[in-house]
Symmetry: C2
């Protein structure tokens, strides 16, 4: 019976790896690393390279297409193939699957979870939590995500429809106004719409743009009007402290 450790490697700074992540990555003979492009490199792999020697390990790159996921058969087949490839490599060895940030926080690993167990009911899967991007970003911005009774909403911005449609906006507003903090994740495609929305609602001064926090080219921009086209990035967020109680 093999064990697969699904390991969060944190948001980018190798020093934000946990002791447990480092120990397990060192111990594992097989390392699975996801990458978004067939011809690209794995960000997760680049994070651990400076901390862990990899030369005697079997490194298996898995290509996860970064496209939206609702009900596409091609994607489902793709994931089944990846699960199959992993199971083959876990037949006689334990392994680690690396995820950026934290495995439970929007990591693609969960598309494989059930598939892996269906292929091998004896496989043990253990998830090792990591520092997630929202914690690292709030730390860099010097603001709390929440305090005392504060409510926090996390909204993947790349999945919200057109905000400017009156009906959608009304509905969204009612929901968002019930929260003290709103984190819009992955704002690169909707940035100007979100900015206009925050401006209209008088929240622009309570909003901070951050991208690639913990990486060398990170951006922390307290004035959303100063965010330039070239600052926009897939690994981005806007944190709004919409504090209801003072």
């Amino acid at each position: 019976m093999s064990t697969l450790y699904v390991i969060g490697v944190g948001p980018g700074d190798p020093e934000l790896l946990t002791l447990k992540a480092v120990r397990l990555i060192r111990e594992m003979p097989v390392i699975f690393v996801p990458k978004g492009r067939e011809d690209g490199t794995s960000l997760a792999l680049s994070i651990i390279k400076s901390i862990v020697k990899l030369d005697r390990k079997k490194i298996i790159e898995l290509h996860f297409p970064m496209i939206k996921t609702a009900g596409t058969n091609a994607l489902s087949d793709k994931w089944s193939n990846l699960a199959q490839e992993m199971i083959q490599n876990l037949r006689d060895a334990d392994g680690a699957f690396l995820t950026l940030g934290d495995p439970c926080f929007y990591s693609t690993f969960f598309y494989l979870y059930d598939r892996l167990l269906r292929l091998s009911s004896s496989l043990r899967i253990e998830i090792i939590p990591g520092v997630s991007s929202i914690n690292a970003s709030a730390a860099r911005a010097g603001i709390p995500l929440g305090l005392a009774g504060d409510r926090i909403a996390i909204i993947p911005a790349n999945y919200i429809g057109k905000l400017m449609a009156e009906e959608t906006l009304d509905h969204e507003l009612q929901i968002w106004s019930a929260f003290d903090t709103i984190v819009f994740m992955k704002v690169d495609r909707n940035f100007y719409e979100i900015k206009k929305f925050l401006m209209d609602k008088g929240l622009i001064n309570r909003s901070i743009y951050l991208s690639r926090v913990g990486m060398r080219d990170e951006r922390v921009i307290h004035d959303l009007n100063k965010v330039k086209e070239q600052d926009l990035d897939y690994f981005s967020m806007v944190i709004v402290r919409n504090k209801r109680n003072g």
Copy 2:
């Protein structure tokens, strides 16, 4: 000019400390540790004890009363006094302030932030993120907090009013139903009310109770009906996967 490092030590398992946390705690001559009771011990301190030698360090315990915070003068004075005590100890040395989990995620440190800077405008404050309890808990439960476009709501349960009041409940329901995952934090006092609510709404089978995750006496209970009085704890949560899209 001194630097204060505000360091998340993770949810309980010392191996979930980051490399950065360990390095900085080792380097710092002065360590501030919060504790909830005047005569109690600091959980944060107990987490680092097995990893870092403390015998040559100045350990300063700070008593943070664990009571609700809205507008009490006595508390405000208490925090000002704690800030004063910290500044005195940072006069000729850098220091670390330890927080359980992640500093930006409901840590009491933020009550001191502005007060510290008012007392010493030259103080540098750097926040080092840590693994937060929600990530560790989802990992133990083997479920994602969010995937793809999922929306996540984080609700401190100890601050919600009586749910059973019709009006409150209607309002809450409308908000919660817009989220794929709801995390109720600190459910020990409201547990039976939250359980009844989840039962009424047909969400009980999608809910998991967890407490003290990463500590020796952790509980992960997939059937809320099996949660006993003695399982209830301040460091607890219920995660509800109320997935809207399948």
